[in-house]
C-alpha cells in the first residue's frame, strides 16, 4: 500500500507534468483574448463608420491598423500575463481548451457576421 509521501510525490509529478509553464500559458491566454477582441473589433468597425474611419486615420487602411492593434495586443498581453499566478499554474487541458475554443468562437463571430 502506498505511503502518504509516495502519494504526494506521484500527485506532484502528475501536476508538474500537466502544467505547461508560465511563458506558454501567458502567451496562449494572450492569443485567446486577442483573437476574441479582434473578432469583436471586426463587428464594431464594420457596423460603425466612426470606428472604421478611426482605424483608417491611424495607418491609412483599416486592415493595416487592425493588424497593428492585434500584434501589439498579443505581444504586450503575452508578456504581462506570463507574470501572473494564473499562467504559472495553468494546466495543459485548460490551455488547450482555451486556444481551441477561442479559435472556434472567434472564427464563428467573424464568419457569422459576414454571413448575416
Amino acid at each position: 500500500m502506498a505511503t502518504t509521501t509516495e502519494i504526494d510525490a506521484a500527485s506532484s509529478h502528475q501536476t508538474t507534468e500537466q502544467a505547461v509553464g508560465a511563458t506558454v500559458a501567458g502567451f496562449a491566454w494572450s492569443y485567446a483574448i486577442t483573437s476574441l477582441l479582434s473578432a469583436l473589433l471586426v463587428v464594431v468597425k464594420e457596423t460603425f463608420k466612426w470606428a472604421h474611419d478611426l482605424l483608417v486615420a491611424v495607418t491609412g487602411h483599416h486592415w493595416t491598423a487592425h493588424g497593428v492593434v492585434v500584434i501589439l495586443l498579443f505581444v504586450i498581453l503575452g508578456f504581462v500575463l506570463t507574470q501572473t499566478s494564473m499562467a504559472k499554474t495553468a494546466s495543459a487541458g485548460q490551455i488547450i481548451g482555451l486556444v481551441v475554443g477561442s479559435t472556434i468562437v472567434s472564427g464563428l463571430i467573424i464568419g457569422g457576421y459576414f454571413v448575416i
Binding site: 506558454v24 498579443f74 495543459a92
Partner: protein
C-alpha cells in the same frame, strides 16, 4: 516588371502552404519527441512562423495596394459573396492564423520533452495552424474564382 502584381498575388498562397507544411512537419516531430529531434522540431516551428509572417507581409501589401480593382470586379460579378463573405472573413481570420503560427515556436521552445502537457499543447497549435491555414487557401481559391467568373461575365 510585367505582371509583377500577379507574381505578388501568387507568392502569398505559396508562402502560406509552405508555412502549413512546416507546421505539419512540427506536428510529426512532436509525435516522436525526444532529445535527438528537438533541434529539428524547433527549427520546423520557427520555419512555420517565419513563413506565415512572410505570407502576412506579401499578402498585406497586395491587399492594401492592389486588391481594390479585383474587389470592384468581384462585387459586380456573379459571385459577390466571393468578396462579401470569403474575402472579408479570410482577411480577418488570418490574424488568428498568424498568432497561432507565432505561438507554435513559443510552445516548442518550452519544456516540450519534460512536460507531456506542453507537447500536447504544441501539437494542438500545429494542428490549428494547418486547419485554419487550409481554410485560408480554400477561401483564396473561391475569391480567385469570383474574379474569374466576373471577367467571363464581362466578355460573354
Amino acid at each position: 516588371m510585367p505582371y509583377s502584381s500577379e507574381f505578388i498575388l501568387l507568392l502569398h498562397p505559396a508562402l502560406g502552404v509552405l508555412a502549413i507544411m512546416a507546421s505539419i512537419w512540427t506536428f510529426v516531430e512532436l509525435l516522436n519527441a525526444k532529445s535527438q529531434n528537438l533541434v529539428r522540431m524547433r527549427l520546423a516551428s520557427v520555419t512555420s512562423a517565419i513563413l506565415m509572417w512572410a505570407t502576412y507581409i506579401v499578402a498585406g501589401y497586395w491587399y492594401v495596394t492592389l486588391y481594390a480593382a479585383d474587389k470592384a470586379l468581384i462585387k459586380a460579378g456573379p459571385w459577390p459573396l466571393a468578396h462579401g463573405l470569403f474575402m472579408e472573413t479570410k482577411e480577418h481570420v488570418f490574424f488568428m492564423v498568424l498568432l497561432l503560427a507565432t505561438l507554435l515556436p513559443i510552445a516548442t521552445f518550452s519544456d516540450v520533452l519534460g512536460r507531456r502537457g506542453v507537447r500536447h499543447l504544441a501539437m494542438w497549435i500545429a494542428a490549428l495552424v494547418v486547419l485554419t491555414g487550409l481554410a485560408m487557401e480554400g477561401s483564396g481559391a473561391i475569391i480567385s474564382m469570383g474574379a474569374k467568373l466576373a471577367l467571363l461575365a464581362k466578355t460573354a
